[in-house]
Symmetry: C2
Subunit: 282 residues, 2 copies
Amino acid sequence: MDTVAIVGVGLMGGSFALGLRAAGFRGRILGVSSPRALEAALARGVIDEGLPLKQAVPAADLIYLANPIDRILEILPEVARLARPGSLTTDAGSTKVAIVDRAAECFRGSALFLGGHPMAGKAERGVEAAEAGLLRGAPYVLTPASGVLPKRPAVRSFLSWLDRLGVSPIVLSPHDHDRIVAFTSHLPQLASSALASVVLENTRDPAERAVSGGGLRDTTRLARSAFDLWRDIVLTNTENIDCALSAYIEKLQRLRTNLRATVLKDEFERGAALLDELSRPS
Amino acid sequence: MDTVAIVGVGLMGGSFALGLRAAGFRGRILGVSSPRALEAALARGVIDEGLPLKQAVPAADLIYLANPIDRILEILPEVARLARPGSLTTDAGSTKVAIVDRAAECFRGSALFLGGHPMAGKAERGVEAAEAGLLRGAPYVLTPASGVLPKRPAVRSFLSWLDRLGVSPIVLSPHDHDRIVAFTSHLPQLASSALASVVLENTRDPAERAVSGGGLRDTTRLARSAFDLWRDIVLTNTENIDCALSAYIEKLQRLRTNLRATVLKDEFERGAALLDELSRPS
């Protein structure tokens, strides 16, 4: 792997590039992004050169698509046309069925596509916030359309770099990925935004909302997420999210109608069991 | 203020006692608790002496009730009978109407009662987890039945110690307190427990739940709270909590029926506004 093209040089694309460098990658890193992002990326040494998509993709062994989902869906046909034989295109989008399906329509021959979802993040966005260690230890899902990783040199090379980045990929089918993250990621996001909104609407002023502890801050922290990223997530995983919201609403209704009964105890104990699991060192 | 009786020497009572000591209190600190808690409190130097309620309360200028709510409600009549003229009894219960109403029935003459709610906490419980600095900077609500702090020497003395503990009390009526915390504290707790429970029920195994980021951990952190404390909260603030759950369910239903529409954008932006407010240094 000599040349990598990062398409969308923001928090995630920039962190992948910085991670590669820190892990010893000596090849060229090309960036495809807005002039402002390219300037910032060059200034931070995240990329070696900014190029248009048309020039960067054909030059690369690994094409890393780190744009918002709707942009990835939009450029996939062009990336597939431009990608050279033997290259690997992968992405960092938060939903996988729509992207992997679109890629299956476009990629032909020996230019491969493999969907990915690095589950790392932070509140800040943009290449200015990128960190070499952002992906280290975070779940990184790979979603081959067939459910099994292709045994091809470009995939083996990508996996070995992920390994050097401190990432142990989890292989899932695109459908399993989208079903799971609807509950483990998208539902917490919507629950958090809705909670923040309800608290704002039902308290009179900041002085009342200051009557709160760390619990409110933690449960509403995700409400800071940018809407434009989440719009794409909701639009490309609508059915699973609808199902997750429905289960959550049913659960809350059950709590509400049983506020005076012992069913509440069962929910607390079940909740605590998840916490024990999440806090166990993996 | 020469003698303080801590009734219920756990995390909160123990932290108040340690805070007093660290702030320079030279008087006696008596503890009323289980033999096991008293032993641990004596070993850590949290209290000077363990005594039965009957002996500790009449000896104290300040009686600090830090038991669970149902226990506070149970012992209030006896504490009121035992408290000496000029003394102040206060509490650390998380709901205030039930406790302040009960106290109003019991306290007569110059022995005063003033409800309180220190909004600090941590995951661990018991006097072993107590910290001198736990209350520092945390919201501490005082809820005089009349809505105004009584101008009595015992109250002035308590306020001056709170000040030395780094606490600036917020004065609210018991009803306003319970209405507000239903949204800022009790709803986040129930939303978190319900979320943890739904995620557990709708994923297949720990491997699937490991496909998650910090968002799931943050939004479900509260699900670790002990049920016995929350049972009392729910039982003594049922109507406000019912109202908060109802508003939350309605909001989630609105999100669900509008997953493809722009209403979602409004919720995200409203949610982000709360976050900006909570993160501003107070």
